[in-house]
């Protein structure tokens, strides 16, 4: 029996999204096949990994992921430049975590200032994230979007509770937008529809189906991503054809496996390598499920993931 490879071609295609300006702009998405299936279709862009930085010192990060940023993470501008110049980041994700009412409750004006300071120091693309407090984000991200006007950033995350104001700010200032829902393909689709019904261009949207870490619900994110991807390709569903985000770092670095010491749990091995591996494995799994943009924390995990992307592409 001769073997004829069963190639799958699909009617649908993922939109490609470009962020940033000039020769430092990056593009992701654009494929018309499942992740890394270049043998049966086109995969024009490789996934992008953005380094996460925050607008206040990451005192609550586990030591092993704080260490690589020692001396630079006290100030978001220095931190951003370090990622760009020394770590050769292709993109940066600035999380305005200090604006959270339970943290420093900093004002939208403060946030806007941080955004302009960071933007004036870097020329790679910037992703601007709120503190994930739906109400506060609505005001913070509006101010931040204004401060970044015309720099072609990504603003996020718009959720069901606040998408109207945030999407409007992204339109007004020419940004891309992350729409996030909670691990449910139907909710994700519904939010994309709501956002586009406001006049937001469906080709400027990025879907965040919500991340979960290895061992803590990863399989849910994995399968929701695979299902979204299949809906985009096989069903040619335009409300599911947005490239997907995996917001890896913040989910991974809070689980026990990335923190517990080897003295307490000798059977788990070195905590430093364990943490890095936990992040890299979570990231690689979600790439295989269909994520096109990742936000990560540890430089060594990012380096390994970029290397595996090179080999997969």
């Amino acid at each position: 029996m001769a073997f004829t490879p069963l190639k799958e071609t699909y009617p649908g295609k993922v939109y490609s999204v470009t962020i940033g300006m000039g020769n430092k702009a990056v593009t992701f998405g654009g494929e018309n096949v499942l992740p890394f299936h270049a043998f049966e279709g086109i995969v024009p862009n490789k996934p992008v990994v953005a380094y996460e930085i925050q607008d206040m010192p990451p005192a609550d990060w586990p030591e092993n992921v704080r260490k690589p940023y020692e001396g630079v993470s006290d100030d978001p501008v220095t931190w951003a430049k370090y990622c760009q110049d020394v770590l050769k980041a292709r993109a940066i994700a600035l999380r305005l975590i200090s604006t959270h009412p339970d943290r420093e409750n900093r004002s939208p004006e403060d946030a806007a200032k941080t955004v302009s300071d960071v933007l004036s120091a870097i020329d790679i693309p910037l992703i601007i994230l709120g503190s994930n407090h739906a109400e506060k984000d609505a005001s913070v991200l509006v101010a931040a979007a204004g401060a970044a006007k015309d720099r072609n950033c990504i603003i996020g995350k718009a959720q069901e509770a606040n998408y109207k104001t945030i999407a409007a700010a992204a339109i007004a200032n020419n940004h891309k937008l992350i729409a996030m829902s909670e691990l449910d393909i139907n909710l994700s689709k519904q939010l994309n529809i709501l956002v586009t019904q406001m006049g937001f261009d469906k080709e400027r949207l990025i879907t965040d189906p919500m991340c979960s870490a290895l061992g803590y619900g990863l399989e849910y994110t994995y399968s929701v991503m695979e299902r979204i991807k299949l809906a985009a390709l096989a069903q040619n569903d335009a409300t599911m054809q947005q490239p997907m985000l995996g917001d890896i770092g913040m989910y991974v670095w809070k689980v026990k496996e990335t923190q517990a010491s080897e003295t307490d749990l000798p059977q788990w091995g070195s905590v430093e390598e364990r943490g890095i591996t936990w992040e890299a494995v979570t990231a690689t799994s979600l790439l295989l499920a269909g994520a096109a943009l990742l936000i990560m924390w540890h430089p060594k995990a990012i380096e390994a993931v970029e290397k595996v992307i090179e080999e997969l592409i």
Binding site: F3, L6, Q267, E273, V281, T284
Partner: protein, 451 residues
């Protein structure tokens, strides 16, 4: 192609005698098409039909058991391409490579690593499952020597004998007689000799396309040839070593098997993931776990690496329809007495194991009331209306825990602090205390209460 119910029906006696336990031959045929019953149940089916149906109703990826006894490993039997369609069936096997160029002591150390690799996670015992002995020396004597150390040092661990030299294979496989090893290394140059040995020792045969790139074409021809030589149990290697090629070949193999019932590739896949750098090797293994490898060969098995890949395998292979759950009941941790604290949580396995682990760490004997929330985590169950004040109150009342304890204090998870008032309203005479949000705060919390 798998047969449809109607096609199967045509091959049955059509007497509707009901001896199979189904009301009609058609009903039986429909169940057969869904692989939910076995042809053996019909006593009157003709030999000819049996043969046709046997071929068509065999699972698309051949089921093979590797090794024997407690540590035997089931492989194959997969029925889907995506885990959301249906549970992936047999978790991939992790094997550590041991090269025969190592010194005896180095080999012993590696064996020890395999034997001590077991970790418990969410109630399951996970370990590096097998050893792959590599004939890197190209020397029969050295190969035999290494094999002896393994056969005595790890007599129960399933072994993959890797060599393309039939002489070396023959010398070593004797040491694993009746242990159902895999003999890996049949290719287009040695297929006859290797098939002979595999048959003689009833081993599984590992079949490989040349690394220079005969690919799936060459592989299909080889497995057909070997099958005609009388070997049925095979594992297959397309020769892919780069990430991209592994993903492509594994996908094409699984698709051919599932979607076209293409028998020459309907075998478990073996993937060689070895790399110089351990973290990078881990990520190559990730591709194998997620995308259809049945055996993954690793060059090193550090504890941190094992924990990560075991966990990923567990995640990918869980049933997407039913979250892993534990039984609803009052669990005793340590040896609690009537004054010991009582905590409540949901019956999602992950939640239960994390929380009970931390309560154990605290060394404060306690009662843990685990409530059936259909396997949802605390917040998910709360958001879904399954972990509510009235349901918790009812559960506590009906659990009978009031006979075990004297006090009337219930500790609830920090994430559902909001429920404390309404539980107190519903559970008369009880006081509700809000515990920490994350379980890793439990030891300090419990200890500070007894201090």
């Amino acid at each position: 192609m798998a047969l449809t119910g109607v096609e199967i029906f045509k091959l049955l006696p059509k007497t509707n005698c009901k001896k199979c336990g189904f009301p009609t031959c058609l009903a039986f045929a429909m169940k057969l098409a869904q692989r939910q019953t076995s042809l053996d149940l019909c006593p009157d089916v003709s030999e000819e039909a049996k043969q046709k149906l046997g071929e068509a109703s065999a699972p698309p990826v051949r089921p093979i058991t590797f090794g024997i006894g407690d540590k035997a490993l089931k492989m194959g039997e997969e029925t889907v391409l995506f885990r959301h369609d249906k549970r992936f069936v047999n978790p991939c096997v992790f094997a550590l490579e041991i090269k025969d160029t190592l010194s005896d002591d180095e080999i012993k150390n590696k064996i020890e690593e395999v034997l001590t690799s077991e970790i418990e996670r969410v109630g399951q015992k996970l370990r590096v499952d097998a050893i792959a002995l590599m004939n890197d020396s190209n020397d029969v004597g050295r190969f035999e020597n290494a094999a002896k150390i393994i056969a005595t040092g790890a007599p129960d661990v399933p072994v993959i004998i890797c060599t393309d030299n039939p002489q070396a294979a023959d010398a070593v496989i004797k040491l694993f007689t009746d242990k159902k090893p895999i003999l890996y290394g049949a290719d287009s140059t040695n297929a006859e000799a290797m098939a002979e040995i595999a048959k003689k020792y009833k081993s599984i045969l590992g079949v490989k396309a040349s690394v220079s790139g005969g690919g799936l074409d060459e592989l299909s021809a080889l497995t057909e040839k070997i099958k005609s030589l009388g070997v049925e149990d095979m594992v297959i290697d397309s020769g892919a070593r780069k990430a991209k090629d592994i993903l492509r070949d594994n996908t094409l193999i699984r698709r051919a098997a599932i979607k076209k019932n293409f028998k020459p590739l309907g075998y478990p896949v073996i993937t060689f993931a070895q790399r110089d750098e351990s973290l990078f090797e881990t990520l190559i293994a990730v591709i194998g776990v997620a995308k259809y490898s049945s055996i993954i060969i690793l060059s090193s098995i550090e504890k941190w690496k094992n924990l990560a890949i075991f966990t990923l395998r567990q995640n990918i292979y869980t049933d997407p329809q039913v979250p892993m759950q534990v039984e609803q009941k009052i669990y005793k941790i340590g040896e609690p007495n009537p004054e010991s604290p009582l905590l409540v949580t949901t019956n999602f396995s992950l939640t239960y194991f994390i929380v009970s682990g931390e309560v154990e760490n605290s060394r404060v004997p306690s009662y843990l009331a685990v409530m059936d929330c259909e396997g949802l985590s605390v917040l998910t169950a709360w958001a879904a209306g399954k972990f509510t004040a009235s349901k918790i109150s009812q559960f506590i009342k009906e659990s009978g825990v009031e006979h075990d304890i004297k006090h009337r204090e219930l500790i609830i998870p920090g994430y559902v602090a909001i429920l404390s008032g309404s539980i107190e309203d519903k559970l008369e005479g009880w006081k509700v205390t809000v515990g920490p949000r994350e379980a890793n705060g439990i030891p300090a919390f419990l200890r500070s209460r007894t201090a």
